[in-house]
Amino acid sequence: MSKAILYDSTMCIGCRACEQSCALRWNLPWNETIGAEERLSAHKLTTITTHDGRYSRRLCMHCADPTCVSVCPVGALQKTALGPVVYDANKCMGCRYCMTACPFQVPVYEWSNRAPRVRKCDMCRDRQAAGKPTACAEACPTGATACGDRDALIAEAKRRMAASPNDYYPQIYGLREVGGTSVLMLSAVPFEQLGLRTDLPSQPLPGLTWAALSHVPDVVSVGGVLLGGIWWITHRREDVARAEGGGKEHQS
């Protein structure tokens, strides 16, 4: 069963306990100044964002078919069976294609490090593997961030929306976006008002590049035969001309 995080914006009080516990887990600094930054960076792998008195959260969405995993040339990013999308700095060569490609603009970089790493939330894979909730879910005082099986969380989200339909915008963010994500979000207002992208297709993005990549063997085989054939034809003429020329010389 794949794990997921459910963030309910209507229950969030913006206390940033999730940020602090996340920083603690990654051994990163946290103070009021960093709290006010409100954007992901190498020292801040999750953040609360404020939108006209409403709160939202940013963290890696842990897509079901992640764009970053598909674009990484060396397989430094992997989707684990449990749900988290994880990164291996030892494989990474630092091309930053994952950063360019991520539809949620999540992966961030250690720009001032001589051996820079891509940084992003890994959904506390070690804690998940041990059956514990993510650090952010454990720290959340209101239950706005919850952690559990994805199907159970979807059911819970639907239950909340059905119980108080006036409090919720009737959609779950992450249910269908780019083929579904392991982070789900609920809101009182349309998601774009929380700074979330609502123009994403419901198909996973890796299909777009695969449409081109899948033709590579065709180009190689047809192209190889074609070029070889053209070479044979164009040089055959030469052989014929030479043979005829040679024949004439022989006759004379």
Partner: protein, 384 residues
């Protein structure tokens, strides 16, 4: 400074008297090398953040957009001419195959040098060769760069071997030359188009005037055009620098091919905009519209003019047409990789001077090595 080592003694013999121009060019070269050396030092001590204006929201700058994208494209003259002569057997182009292959080879080496600057962990540059992810376009790009650089090296090696008089190795290379040429043409076809495929994954980030499912095809055709333009460009410069006769009938023929391919390219782009319902975007007063207009003007003007015999047969006019095509090509690659990505990323990117310094130093190095090779290896006077 050690920079002067690059210009070998033989070069100096060419200039009997050191004119003002000689000192100016050498001075510019030294300044570029010094600036590049400083930027290199900062790059490898303070990290990418110390020399670039790249950010989490804008992770690719001119080292990718110009050095890699334009560098690879401008090297396309190599495979175009190799295919014309060795596969299509158009013998008359043989004299300019070698300079074109040399340009391509140097282009690829410089692309790899640029990558060593741009990659965050350049010591892992070989990882794609052993850690496979065939779903990644970047994986394909990495393999194409590696294999095609090798092929180009093997295609250029005869020039070195002739100089060294290694006849047996030469004979052996001739045996494998045709398969090598075919592999080379295939690899560069894949590589040129895969640079376009890289952007297929950013449908909502790249501005719709440039994002298209046809990007791989467009990148390929425009690269062939740029390769031809680059060959005309460097034939013109070589003829001036080395006092050689310009092969006008050859260049005229290439210009015709270039004009036709450009016309095909522009038609595909127009139809693509039409089918994607993106033409209406041209009515919006945005930076993207104007830059798209500039790019198109740079491509349309030479395409139209090149159909005139008078333009093609006038060396200066032909040179400027090739230059326009090259600028149009560069504008396109920069628009796709930088300008077109700005709005979707929500940031404005202007390269820092150190980014420009490294790019210029790499280009200057390329020119210097090309010059050295032309003067010291049988590049232009090819014996068969």
């Amino acid at each position: 400074m050690s920079e002067s080592v690059l210009v070998l003694p033989k070069t100096a013999d060419l200039f009997k008297s050191h004119t003002l121009g000689w000192y100016v060019w050498r001075g510019i070269f030294a300044v570029l090398m010094l600036a590049g050396a400083y930027a290199t030092y900062v790059r490898f001590t303070a990290g990418l953040g110390g020399v670039t204006n790249l950010s989490d929201r804008f992770p690719w700058g001119i080292w990718v957009g110009f050095d890699v994208f334009c560098g690879v494209g401008l090297a396309a003259g190599g495979f175009t001419l190799v295919a014309a002569v060795h596969i299509f057997n158009i013998e008359r182009y043989r004299p300019i195959v070698r300079p074109a292959v040399l340009t391509a080879f140097l282009g690829y080496i410089l692309v790899v040098v640029a990558l060593l600057y741009d990659l965050g962990r350049p010591w892992n540059i070989w990882h794609p060769l052993v850690m496979w992810n065939p779903r990644s376009v970047m994986f394909e790009v990495a393999w194409c760069v590696t294999l095609y650089s090798t092929v180009l090296a093997l295609e250029f090696v005869p020039a070195v071997l002739e100089r060294l008089q290694w006849k047996r190795t030469l004979a052996w290379l001739r045996v494998v030359s045709i398969p090598l040429v075919i592999v080379g043409v295939l690899l560069s076809t894949l590589h040129q188009s895969s640079l376009g495929s890289l952007f297929l994954i950013v449908p909502r980030k790249l501005y719709p005037l440039w994002y298209s499912p046809m990007l791989p095809v467009m990148f390929f055709i425009s690269a062939v055009c740029a390769g031809l333009a680059m060959t005309i460009f460097e034939s013109w410069h070589s003829s001036r620098a080395f006092g050689r006769q310009l092969e006008m009938p050859l260049l005229n023929g290439m210009a015709r091919l270039m004009a036709v391919l450009m016309a095909v390219y522009l038609t595909i782009r127009f139809l693509d905009l039409l089918h994607r319902d993106a033409l209406r975007l041209l009515l919006e007063n945005r930076t993207e519209t104007w830059l798209f207009g500039l790019e198109c003007a740079l491509m349309v003007i030479p395409t139209v003019l090149l159909f005139s015999r008078r333009v093609r047969e006038n060396p200066t006019a032909l040179y400027f047409m090739a230059l326009l095509v090259l600028f149009g090509f560069i504008a396109n690659r920069l628009n796709v990789s930088i300008t077109g990505m700005e709005a979707g990323s929500g940031v404005h990117y202007i390269p820092r001077w150190t980014e420009v310094a490294i790019t210029l130093a790499i280009c200057a190095l390329g020119f210097a090595v090309f010059r050295w090779a032309v003067l010291n290896l049988p590049v232009f006077e090819q014996k068969e």
